[in-house]
Symmetry: C2
Subunit: 355 residues, 2 copies
């Protein structure tokens, strides 16, 4: 079968041949429909994040998969069922407490592999196998958008953790700022707009006319150009934010978020920046966190429950939004277009087969 | 009546005369028994934190009060009842949403005054008045230690918020590190030791023999000398901490805490440092927060519910602990000793009257 693989840090993704996998007991065989591309794939390609499976010289890419169950192999799944696949797997198939309790997203380094990212081949192949409990049913009508379930699940987790951190007191999410107008930022903005929130903002650094700015405004949010209003000045220029969602991977944003928050606000960090030394007014930031009961949380990955919530969320996203979000779906003969970037590219996917 | 007041930043506390206050409707009159002294008092005296009441040239100190109800004044309190007083009050007596819902600790700047700290006279006087709902009953047998209810309540809130932030997943508080071996640090260590926690650590910079190191070890904790093991190396030298409780006000600790945490751990910050620019490896800290689901929370002050929990906690602290913790209780004729510092001073209080 065909697969898309890369030698991280040393080349571009290429089409390779791989044997079609056989499911082990407890695993199903899935025929891949579509796999989304995101910033993490680009970091993996560049060699900035993730690593090869033991002994391999190539990594099959892809962690945002939707497929159709080809062979349930005795599991509770049904042939023909549409499924999205979670990303973390037991290292060497050996169970541990995090997988046992259904929270692989909370496992520390070494206690997991991540398909298409850390030490395990991804889903960019015509078929893949997976433990049945890592395959989450998706209604048939969302098969073509099912590759969005994984990125949505990332925000389901981040928002769940953010809300939990404010659960010890009476807190209302009235104002929210998303840092970054990439696909994850726009998805999160749409999720916030579907909540009881009053006002949303999304920060980027693009000139008008721009399709992401149009989407931000169509959703009901306010676009903030970071070249005019840095994150640290957002509270003064606009208003303090109950929630800041960082999806840029720009390390200074983690610290500037403290200033952007309203009293009792929470910032969730999702980016994975490289090492970078810089100066901060650490005394003032510390004081600001304390005197205004502010919180900063990092979150990574997501578990099955977040995928299930994401399936519901996907069904609630406006059709115009997903239409505008997905700027390209490419077949195997032109898969390289899915890795191109540019101001007119928001979210792409590669199609391995159709239903 | 006699009171202890200061001109912040311009002198030492002095004994002054004030008229005995009359309770307004809804307020009770309290005869003060004891008022504790803590680091915040020293910051107020130095002019580093807090401010004078409008139009005043002196601030009556003290925010850790226990007293006896002298005149219930028609409230539900009873004459002779022992009470501890919460600290935040409505500014100019005008209600707002935070006080209305019993969460003045979550009010932003401008929405509260703090007795003895921010814009309102404190409790270091022979009598004080207070809204009855800001007076929390203390059992008679703890009258002499009731000035510890306020500092304990600070940690009740901090720990409540820390636990809430980890409530979205299966989390166990097995290891805890307290930064700072002052009275609040030692109290918090004792609270942690009374929980299901497995191992505790307390960081200071004192040479042996030292009374606080002896208390740390008597509680069952491990003393860490920060001159030998900086906070950033604690995880490597000892182990990662599920909880770090910062009670030093040393701004770099807020950032080093990220490294001291175990995966999925939470750091609570309580110190109030001054402005201080310094360099951090912000990229690595950001990445560490994200990839290991870590959290940093600031918390300040506490509400009535935390005071009520603190009364229960006070009753559970070992007698040897409170005996060793309170190194001096001074009458009005020698009140200045209560503000002296030194390696043999842990917690002091001023006695205004006895039961």
């Amino acid at each position: 079968m065909k697969a898309i693989a890369v030698e991280p840090g040393a080349g571009e993704p290429e089409l390779i041949e791989r044997p079609r996998p056989d499911p082990e007991p407890g695993e199903a065989l899935v025929r891949t429909l579509r796999v989304g591309v995101d910033g993490t794939d680009h970091e993996v390609i560049a060699g900035h994040h993730g690593n090869l499976p033991d002994g391999a010289d190539r990594l099959v890419l892809g962690h945002e998969a939707v497929g159709v169950v080809e062979d349930p192999n005795g599991t509770a799944l049904e042939a023909g069922q549409i499924v999205a696949a979670t990303v973390r797997r037991r290292p060497n198939g050996v169970d541990n407490e995090y997988f046992a309790r259904g929270e692989p997203d909370m496992a520390p380094a070494g206690k997991y592999v991540e398909r298409g990212i850390v030490g395990a081949d991804g889903f960019m192949a015509e078929y893949f196998t997976s433990p049945a409990d890592a395959l989450v049913p998706v209604p048939d009508e969302y098969a073509s958008l099912g590759f969005l379930v994984e990125p949505i699940s990332i925000s389901e987790k981040a928002l769940e953790h953010a809300l939990a951190s404010r659960a010890a007191f009476d807190w209302h999410l009235d104002t929210g700022l998303v840092l970054g107008n990439g696909s994850l930022g726009l998805i999160t903005l749409a999720m916030l707009e579907a909540s009881e929130i009053e006002r949303t903002y999304c920060l980027g650094r693009r000139d008008r006319p721009d399709p992401t700015i149009e989407m931000i405004e169509e959703l009901g949010g306010t676009y903030i150009d970071s070249r005019e209003t840095p994150v640290s000045e957002v509270a003064a220029e606009y208003e303090g934010m109950d929630l800041v969602y960082e999806a840029t991977g720009y390390a200074k944003h983690a610290f500037e978020t403290v200033d952007a928050l309203a009293p009792n606000g929470v910032g969730v960090l999702l980016g994975v920046p490289d090492d970078w030394d810089f100066e901060v007014d650490g005394g003032r930031l510390h004081q600001e966190l304390v005197l205004h009961n502010k919180a900063l949380l990092g979150t990574v990955n997501s578990h099955r429950g977040h995928f299930e919530a994401a399936v519901d969320t996907l069904a609630q996203l406006p059709e115009w939004f997903t239409d505008d979000l997905v700027t390209g779906v490419y077949g195997l003969e032109e898969f390289d277009h899915a890795f191109e970037t540019g101001d007119d590219v928001i979210k792409t996917a590669i199609e391995f087969s159709s239903r």
